[in-house]
Amino acid sequence: MAMSPRTLRPRNALHPEAASWAARVVANGGTVGTSLPAVSAFCRAIDAAGIRSKIWRLNLLCGGTSGTSVGISSCLVPLYRGPTSTGPQYGGLTDAGGAFVGSDYNETGSSGGLKSNGTTKHLDTEFAQSNISLINLHLSVSFSQMDTSGTAERVLIGHYNASQSDFAVLRSAVSTGNMEFFASSFSGNPSTSYLSSSSHLMGVRSSLTSAVLYSAGVSVGTSSATVGTPATSSFSYFVFARNNAGTADTRTSARIRMYSIGQAIDSTGAAAFANAVAAFNTAMGRT
């Protein structure tokens, strides 16, 4: 009797992209720590939601051992670097670690993720703004310990080129008391009042006239204002700061658990994405 291929497949086989991530982590001097099963489950959830091709770069900031150099070497390896695992890849093989040290990182628990001091630390994704259209864009971050200190805006992820309308940032804005998403427009951008607890925050611009801000997969702000056609630049997206034409500024001291950059995701996809992130965080005790 012929054996079904389904029967022969190990039930707990790693998702191929999780296995790839694990190999890249080791190559970077890290270890997978306790993260691998949760990473694999995350990959399956994203596939099942049908949004894999919308996510061009994503880092779950996991692996390794909390509070160690190995933890840093592990968590700087992104899970996704392109809309597929086999097509074009974008940005650095790893995120360039701007002065993070082992004690800034915890793999698991309520303090899981990477924590900045808001002054001297940021990550450079080396993912150029010109890689992806600003009018078909999402930026997302799962965070805790939001930074609302001082008087300046605090950027979770973004880039900015003052000379042209080629900027996109997800930030806490002390001046307005809001979490905001900007993409290629100085006005008419979706926002919501500060999120005091942890959340998966995602800004989406899907056209010149549509931008949405999601928190935990639920729309919390929309804008239908018409924005101008954005320019492009080679400046990369920074995390924990804004890349202001090559220099990090408006840093945040938030703890970040993951980030993603990619194309616009609709409301159904946003909910599924948030659920996948929440499931990963739960599996890692990052609640």
Binding site: N28, A152, R171, F186
Partner: protein
């Protein structure tokens, strides 16, 4: 206070309370050393203070010990010169000397 007066290793909590302060000339030399012996997993990017000196958080000293992200760079550095050339000041004082961020959009 100079770096040479610090006792290493230093704890993370103690190191977060200090800033390392140095000249742009030394920063250039340290960047060269990082290019030769550093890792992309830890790329210190100093900030310019209002008096023209540069600063970093002292917590990077927790990565210079064996096995640390900056250990190879530290091993290759002239620690006598470094110890005399790098100043140490309270973190809050150094942060107070940083220019405000440019107002974003």
């Amino acid at each position: 206070m100079k770096l040479s007066e610090l006792t290493l290793p230093i704890s993370y909590s103690d190191s977060c309370g200090i800033a390392l302060v140095f000249t742009s000339q030394l920063a250039a030399r340290l960047a060269e050393l990082h290019g030769l012996y550093g890792t992309k997993n830890c790329v210190p990017v100093p900030r310019v203070m209002s008096d023209g000196r540069l600063m970093l958080c002292g917590d990077i000293l927790t990565e210079v010990m064996p096995g640390g992200l900056l250990a190879a760079m530290w091993d290759a550095a002239d620690k006598k010169v470094l110890g005399e050339s790098v100043g140490v000041m309270p973190w809050a004082e150094a942060v107070a000397m940083l220019p405000p961020d440019r107002q974003p959009v």
